[in-house]
């Protein structure tokens, strides 16, 4: 293989890089006195925008029923195999509902595929990024933790309708 020629032939002073090194160091030095970006987390909290992908949650419709019909598509598409759904029959028109819906938050990689594939707009990515558990069992979120009233998810759903 022929080595690629440099576009520009550097002269001696450029090649010893002293000037460049000094420039670089001055840049670093300047940065040390710039304002800081750090948010001091427990006191100051990051309020994510609608495009943020926090933990996936299930939408609880206005009438207090989950939208999910337990079709299992999210479970199928999930690249991390995080979702486990068990369907059962309901009296409602949509015929089925998830008797069990579990997301293993240790497996979830927050890719948002589940949200994208859901035919019912029933699973969406929330803004919740505060996920703490102290053992494997706690990391498996059941319906109790997953169901979130739709009011809290409005802007994500709007975002999805606009951009999905």
């Amino acid at each position: 293989m022929v080595a690629k020629k440099r576009k520009k032939n550097l002269n001696f002073f450029e090649r010893i890089y002293i000037v460049e090194i000094i420039k670089g160091m001055i840049l670093t030095l300047k940065n040390m006195f710039r304002p800081k970006f750090t948010m001091e987390y427990p006191e100051v909290k990051f309020e994510p925008p609608a495009s943020y992908r926090g933990r996936p949650v299930l939408v609880l419709d206005e009438n207090g029923v989950e939208r999910c019909v337990a079709c299992g598509l999210c479970s199928r598409v999930c690249p991390a195999l995080a979702i486990e759904v068990q369907a059962a029959e309901t009296e409602y028109e949509k015929e089925r509902y998830p008797e069990k819906f579990e997301i293993n938050m240790l497996r979830c990689i927050f890719c948002g595929f589940c949200e994208e594939v859901c035919p019912e707009e029933a699973i969406v990515m929330s803004k919740d990024y505060e996920l703490v558990y102290t053992n494997r069992e706690d990391a498996i979120y059941g319906k109790d933790k997953l169901l979130v009233p739709i009011e809290q998810l409005r802007d994500r759903i709007e975002f999805l309708r606009k951009f999905k």
């Binding site: 337990a70 299992g72 199928r76 195999l81 486990e84 369907a87 089925r96 498996i140």
Partner: protein
Amino acid sequence: MPKIILDGKEIEFKPGQTIIEAARDAGIDIPHFCWHPKLSVSGNCRMCLVEVEQMPKLVISCATLASEGMVVHTSSPKAVEARNAVMEFLLINHPLDCPICDEAGECKLQEYAYAHGRGESRFEEMKVRKEKRIQLGPYIKFDAERCILCSRCIRFTDEIAKSHQLTFIKRGDKVTITTFPGESFDNPYTLNTTDICPVGALTNQDFRFKARVWEMSKTNSICIGCARGCNIEIWVRNNQILRLTPRYNEDVNSYWMCDNGRLNTFKFVNSDSRIDGPFVRRNGLLEKVSWEEALSEASNKLKKYKGNEIAFIGSAYATNEDNFMFIKLAKLLDVKKVMFARHIKEGDQDDILIREDKTPNSLGAELIGLMPINENLLNELFEEISTGKIKVLYIIEDDIFGKYENLKELAKKLELIIVHATNKNITTEFADILFPASTYAEKHGTFVNFQGRVQRIRPAVATVELDRALDGMSMSRWDKFGTPFDRWMQGKKYDAKPSWKILTSISTKLGLKIKYEMAEDVFEDIANTIDEFKGLDYDLISNNGIKIKNKAYEYIK
């Protein structure tokens, strides 16, 4: 043989075959809904339209006889356009139900819509609404909206089940399927319509919403409901059987199986009454012990008795391998009485599939060398037990005490009862040593059906000693990527072993020199020692079974 040219390829056909049949034999699938190889041609779905040169219009390939030199195009622009148009028509009123439809994943409409659909609808009006939850029969739910009116189910009841129970009613977009007034769709074969229904209009009530088809693994096996031995697939998720479906085998069951077999032959596998680990009676109570302990106990106790003090009762539910090892042990102990019980349900037989003999392997048991219990043999047994001549009973995989109630009385006279059983039953209550046997869904083995056909069963459900990956069992995606921490991998595994394995261990303890690692090794021995099985092996039996040589067995009662 005459030939037609299909999409530029020359294929042969048998005179009298239609284009679709000829194509199918050549391995080419022409899209279709209403045509079914085992049903009459109705030609109403128009999906199988193909272009035949020199014919003025497109023709339906299911009703057009192939003739020498015919030139057929299945994917010419005209044919494709016609197919797409048919799809569009079908989808006009078809609900967007796939997410809640059990058929999704194995639905012809879904597949063809994917291949031939437009991807969007030009139809702006409301779809026609029909009733969605009609209880057509005891096991079947009918969704009228999803029905594409192919009439497969009607033709099935007319031609195969011969019960003439279903029909179309009404006209135009109101057409729907129903039973005759006051009748329920309840022949013994109804659930086959859920298999042949190309969409999810007819669904199995028992399996309804239990799982999506892609979540399960499927294993080729044999139904144990009767001596027909229908070929089936066992569908498993989380180590639990969720449904059985028939598997095509022209010589045994074609595409069908009966409702009883489909619904009632798998639930015991995952039931609470399973025996989990070996038990030994201590102070009058059955106590769970280790395998080693139970096996030594059994061999030590058996050693104390003479051959003529022991009676062995094998089983027509057990595989040939199990029964063969049973006889080996009997020979080792010099036991003469080696029998098995038949389970005949008089009159419950038809000329479609169902047989009176409700066991899958009675012919096999007989061929292996067990004596079928008849009146004389039974009386003799009772007699000898009551006089105290027979002191030991060894029963495998059959509820003998449940069948012959007299034995309950005589049990007091017996000094030792060893039982292999899959589930708790009356016999297990009397056992002194109780071994947990693997069910037919947890082991390899062979059955011989009433026609003399040897057929294989394979493990679909893992027991403690089985590992899906290492033992080559079929695996779903979930099985492949699961870890012990995932809930879907935590399905109950029972601590059971196939009877032949238990018997082998006892025999070795009693000094017999055999080394069977797998059921296949036992079968090899069977093939070497028993004439009828000569030359057979698991590979030959394969998926479709093979007829036993020399004799044309027809089961005689």
